[in-house]
Each structure stands twice: as structure tokens, then as C-alpha cells.
């Protein structure tokens, strides 16, 4: 197992009290596997990613739980050690490629610097390596593009450069937070293919954080659905998306507009209400105020993930099914 998060809890201490943004989140990502982490705004998916990378900014902090990378616990490492590890073993891609690139250096210089720092290459070898990376992520004419600055690239090409940078140190884990959200659909499709290829060909474990179920469906092997700071369902993409077990996942899937040829205009299923604020997460199951299937037990006590078929869901509906069996 490349990455393991165990009972991760992220808190924000504020003047008005402690807010729990990520609560008891556990998952793992294997070699060459793409784990999708999906949820709506405020679900805690990005914070989970930041917590894994050790990039939480105060007042946010990991209050409990453990993060393991290749069998080594990394959440308690000193700052400097974690920093070295992050650059070398974890590659990161954020939503906005411009924010990840230095506008004053050519992309060639940025790529070479990263490779030099982490792999210690120099001279011809270094240049060859950088060019090969640009070619791998699908930059046409890498020789010519090497001397260009970030502003000379389009949004999609910039995101490719960022992916090349993330892969430069040959990380074993790639964390991509909304990597396709700022892109047009045609470019989005190309980045999806690229991320999949990286996982298959390099064996990189990928944690793909997104709000877009379509992207998850086409890219991920397994998916964790988050709601109000918790994983409410986790399993193989095929199972979770096509036979959702948690009422939230089911509602989410039904509310996604789909291109149905010839079906014409139709009404979407909708989940009433909105995700609760962190300061107002209800007792019991956090989804119960919006849940069409809630019953007494959901109001009082919080369900943990329990096995349902091939996946796991945190919903009391399945506890009664298990008990009856």
C-alpha cells in the first residue's frame, strides 16, 4: 500500500470554538491505483488532501489520526524532513496551473531545477530528462517550448507542464486537486487520459480530488464520497456510481444532468437543503436533515462505515439489513 490515512481528523481552532473539518477519515491508495475523492464544496476533500501532504495552514491542524506513506508514518515528521519527502515522493497538481508556476522563469528552467534538486542529474542527462518529461505529458515540440515562459502557454498546456513538474522527481504518489476544473471540456478529456496513463505506466498511486462525478467515472478505480467532513461511501467506482448505497450518493448521482439523446427536457431529482456549515453539523448522521430515508436511529447516533455488498457505506439502513441477516 502506498498511502494510508487512518482516522484522520482535521480541526480549526477559532475564537468561537473548534471546528472539525475532517472527521475520522480512513482510506488507502495502492500502486498504480487512482482513488477519487469526491464531494461538494465544504465536504472536506481538499483539506484531506492538504492534511496528507502536511500542507495544512494554521489554524488548521491534524488533531488525530495517522498518515502512512510506503509503510512509514509521515504526519508526525519534523517540518524539514516532511518537506524533503514531499518534493521527492509526493507530486502535487492544483486547480490553477498559473499558481504553481513561476512566471519569471522558462518552463525548461523550472523543470530542470526540480529534476536537479531531486534526482541530482546534470548536463545533457538533465536536459534529456526534462525534454522526455514534456513529451510524456503531451507538449508538442518540447524542444521549442523549452524556452517559453508560462504566460506563453494555454491553460491546458500549463496544466500539462504542472503535471510534468509533479512527475519530475518520480514520485510514488500524485495528489491532484481539481486538476481539470479550470479547463475546457476538450482539454479536460486530455488531462483525464494523461492522469490515467501516469498511473498505469509509472505505477504511481493517484489521489484525485474533484467535485465532478464524470471525471471520477472515467479516471478513478475506487472512489470515496465525502459529506460534511466524513467519508459516507467508499468502494469500486463501478459499484459506488452505478449502485450507490448511501442515500447521499444516490441523491448526488440522480441530480447530475446527463446527456440523454432524444429524451428532451426533464426534471432532475434534487436533494433538498444544503451541506451544513462546519459550526452546525447535526448530531447523529450529518446527512439526516436532508435524507429522504431517515429514521429514528439516524437522529441520535452517528453511523460508521459498514460493509454493503462490495463497498462500504456509513448509513444505518445497512445496519438493520446486516442485523436481520
Amino acid at each position: 500500500m502506498i498511502l494510508q490515512a487512518k482516522e484522520l481528523r482535521v480541526e480549526f481552532r477559532t475564537r468561537r470554538g473548534t471546528l472539525v473539518a475532517v472527521d475520522g477519515v480512513s482510506f488507502c491508495v495502492a500502486r498504480g491505483e487512482v482513488l477519487g475523492v469526491v464531494g461538494e464544496s465544504g465536504a472536506g476533500k481538499s483539506l484531506t488532501g492538504l492534511a496528507v501532504m502536511g500542507l495544512l495552514e494554521p489554524p488548521g491542524r491534524i488533531a488525530a489520526g495517522e498518515v502512512w506513506l510506503e509503510g512509514r508514518r509521515i504526519d508526525a515528521l519534523p517540518h524539514a524532513a516532511l518537506r524533503a519527502l514531499r518534493g521527492r515522493r509526493i507530486g502535487v497538481v492544483f486547480q490553477d496551473p498559473l499558481g504553481s508556476l513561476n512566471p519569471l522563469y522558462t518552463i525548461g528552467a523550472q523543470l530542470e531545477e526540480t529534476i536537479r534538486t531531486h534526482l541530482g542529474l546534470a548536463g545533457k542527462e538533465l536536459r534529456g530528462r526534462a525534454l522526455a518529461l514534456l513529451a510524456e505529458v503531451g507538449i508538442p515540440a518540447p524542444q521549442a517550448r523549452f524556452q517559453h515562459y508560462p504566460h506563453q502557454f494555454s491553460g491546458g498546456m500549463r496544466q500539462r507542464v504542472v503535471i510534468a513538474l509533479a512527475l519530475a522527481a518520480e514520485p510514488i504518489l500524485l495528489i491532484a486537486d481539481e486538476p481539470t476544473t479550470a479547463l475546457d471540456v476538450s482539454m479536460q478529456a486530455q488531462i483525464i487520459v494523461l492522469i490515467k496513463r501516469v498511473a498505469r505506466e509509472r505505477g504511481t498511486a493517484v489521489m484525485l480530488i474533484t467535485h465532478d462525478m464524470g471525471v471520477i467515472a472515467e479516471t478513478a478505480d475506487r472512489v470515496a464520497v465525502m459529506y460534511a467532513g466524513r467519508i459516507v461511501e467508499i468502494g469500486a467506482v463501478r459499484d459506488v456510481l452505478h449502485a450507490p448505497q448511501h442515500p447521499y450518493t444516490a441523491g448526488l448521482m440522480a441530480s447530475i444532468p446527463r446527456i440523454a439523446a432524444g429524451a428532451g427536457r426533464s426534471r432532475l431529482a434534487q436533494i433538498e437543503g444544503a451541506m451544513p456549515r462546519l459550526s452546525e453539523i447535526p448530531r447523529g448522521c450529518p446527512f439526516h436533515p436532508r435524507c429522504p430515508k431517515r429514521f429514528e436511529r439516524c437522529l441520535g447516533s452517528r453511523p460508521e462505515l459498514m460493509p454493503v455488498g462490495a463497498s462500504q457505506a456509513a448509513c444505518w439502513l445497512h445496519a438493520s439489513a446486516i442485523a436481520q441477516r
Binding site: E40, S41, S154, G155, G156, M157, D184, V185, S186, M187, Q188, A189, Q190, I192, V193, H211, D212, M213, G214, V215, A217, E218, V237, R238, L241, H242, G251, L252, M253, S255, I256, P257, R258, I259, A260, A261, G262, A263, G264, R265, S266, R267, L268, A269, Q270, I271, E272, A274, M275
Partner: protein, 314 residues
């Protein structure tokens, strides 16, 4: 056929993106024009939802602003045959004044357009808030007390308060989460049938468009390349660009299936390719496409389709 509510005739909109005058003179550069909308002709019919789709830089937002009258065309004509037009913007954060109470935000068009007597404004605002699924008490609050979806409801209430016949919606759900997006799309459909509204719906999201539109126009680099009833467009796309766009949308039904990657990306609109602007990415392009700009004939602008070179067999 119903008479058009709004007609757009050969409309072009150029933006001057030249560098400052002194720099131009010193370096002997000319003016640079960006043609955001390039000879678009279409009409909006009473009571329909016309969607305009395309990728960034295709001119869809510019045409929305032209249609609502926020901006004037450089060339061509826009004729509106109704009473009033209103607009709903993409960001429910930037489009509401944070210092105003919701009741004042919603009442502003009523006051400005003098649609009601002073004493009646309050009741009318309460009715509008109820119509979009908010409580009358919400009128006393400020925008920051609401979530993104509720704010978009406020935007809709404000647009409706001007009693428009035509609502131009520029990416109204793009900033929202999917579960909230579904609520807003359903609300818009309900309001349309209840108040017999006409919508122009601008979006980059084909799935959303397929859910709400009666007719769909596809734009590429400022030009309208295809216009068809929604059912037809999604089942039998004709223009190669429309097909590519449909192919590119990630689909939930396609879990784990390999996909043919879409090639290329939208060229720089400052230097659009000659001839058909889609030709560098088009698998069917030939010599004529590289040279000659296709006319918009029979609802599609494509030489290949017009010459019968591109088949529609599926």
C-alpha cells in the same frame, strides 16, 4: 411558427486590445482587434429556452451581453420585440451588493422601473422571494448570510422583479455544487412554465444544456457553427466540432471504458485560422476548408456537411 422575441442579425463585436498609443507609435505597431462575435444570426422565439454552448473564448458571454443590451454590436443588428430583458450572472457572490439587504436588492428593479406603488413594494418582494423558494423573513438579511444556491435564488428573484419577458442567463449554475445546481435548474423550469418566460441560457456544460434547452446553438471562435433543436443536436450532431464536444464530455455511463482522446485546443482568438476556423482540429478538413469560410446554411456552417462528405450514420 411563433414570431421571434429577439432577433440577432449578422452581429459582430470587436474589442480593441491594442497596446497603449505611445507604445504603438514607438514600435510602429498597428491596432489589434479581437473579434469576439463574428457575424452571428439567430432568433429567440417566445417561450423557448435557447442555449448557447461553447468553450472559453467562443464569444458566448459577449453575445449574452449584446442580447441584454449591456453592450452594443460593432456591426449588425439586434432587435428586441418584447417589453423588458433581465440578466442572471454566473457568480452569485459578485452580482449581489453585500451592503444591501435582500429586500432592497430584489426591490431595486421595481423601484427603478416604477412597476408598483411604494406601499405595494414590500408585498411584491415577499411574493417574489416565495416564488424562488425563500422565506419572506429572508428579505431582512444580507447576502453573506446565504449559501451560493440561495444567493442564486436571490439573483433570480431580482431578475423576475423587473417583470421581464426575456431572461438572459450567463452560466447561472456553473458556480454551484451539483445538488444545488439541480435545485436551481428545476426552479428555472418551474418559473418558465408558470410565468411563460423566455430564456437564453449560456453554458459550457452540455449535460446541463441537454436538461433545460429547447434549441441549442454551438459557438466556436465567435461564430455560430450549428443550431438545432436539442433532441436533434444531441442524437445527431452534424458539425464536426459539435461531435467533438459531445465526445469530450466525461460520462458516468462510461466508467472504465477507454476513450479516444480529443485532439488539440481552441486557437488564440487574436489570430484565428483562415477559412473555417475549426479546420486545424477537424478530421474532415480539406483544401476548401483551409481557404474559404463556410456559410451558415441550413443551420450548420461546415463545407463537409454541405457537400455531403460527412455522413451521419451512427
Amino acid at each position: 411558427m411563433r414570431a421571434p422575441l429577439l432577433s440577432v442579425e449578422a452581429v459582430t463585436r470587436d474589442f480593441d486590445v491594442s497596446r497603449p498609443w505611445l507604445e504603438r507609435v514607438l514600435e510602429g505597431e498597428g491596432r489589434r482587434l479581437l473579434r469576439a462575435v463574428d457575424g452571428v444570426t439567430l432568433e429567440v422565439r417566445h417561450g423557448e429556452t435557447l442555449a448557447l454552448v461553447g468553450e472559453s473564448g467562443c464569444g458566448k458571454s459577449t453575445i449574452a451581453r449584446l442580447m441584454v443590451g449591456l453592450d452594443a454590436p460593432s456591426d449588425g443588428r439586434i432587435e428586441f420585440h418584447g417589453q423588458r430583458r433581465q440578466m442572471i450572472f454566473q457568480s452569485p457572490y459578485a452580482s449581489l451588493n453585500p451592503r444591501w439587504r435582500v429586500r432592497d436588492i430584489v426591490a431595486e428593479p421595481i423601484r427603478v422601473l416604477r412597476l408598483a406603488r411604494k406601499a405595494e413594494v414590500g408585498a411584491r418582494v415577499a411574493r417574489l422571494l416565495a416564488q424562488v423558494g425563500l422565506a419572506a423573513e429572508d428579505g431582512e438579511k444580507y447576502p453573506h448570510e446565504f449559501s451560493g444556491g440561495q444567493r442564486q435564488r436571490i439573483s433570480i428573484a431580482r431578475a423576475l422583479s423587473g417583470e421581464p419577458d426575456l431572461l438572459i442567463c450567463d452560466e447561472p449554475t456553473s458556480a454551484l455544487d451539483v445538488s444545488v445546481q439541480a435545485q436551481i435548474l428545476n426552479l428555472m423550469a418551474d418559473l418558465q412554465s408558470r410565468l411563460s418566460l423566455t430564456y437564453v441560457f449560456i453554458s459550457h456544460n452540455l449535460a446541463v444544456v441537454s436538461q433545460i434547452a429547447d434549441r441549442v446553438g454551438v459557438m466556436y471562435l465567435g461564430r455560430l457553427v450549428e443550431l438545432a433543436p436539442a433532441g436533434e443536436l444531441f442524437s445527431h450532431p452534424r458539425h464536426p466540432y459539435t461531435r467533438m464536444l459531445l465526445e469530450a464530455v466525461p460520462r458516468i455511463e462510461r466508467t472504465g471504458e477507454p476513450r479516444t482522446p480529443v485532439a488539440g485546443e481552441v486557437p488564440n482568438p487574436l489570430a484565428p485560422p483562415p477559412g473555417c476556423s475549426f479546420h486545424p482540429r477537424c478530421p474532415h478538413a480539406d483544401e476548401r476548408c483551409r481557404r474559404e469560410r463556410p456559410e451558415f446554411v441550413d443551420a450548420v456552417a461546415c463545407h463537409g456537411v454541405q457537400e455531403g462528405r460527412i455522413s451521419f450514420a451512427r
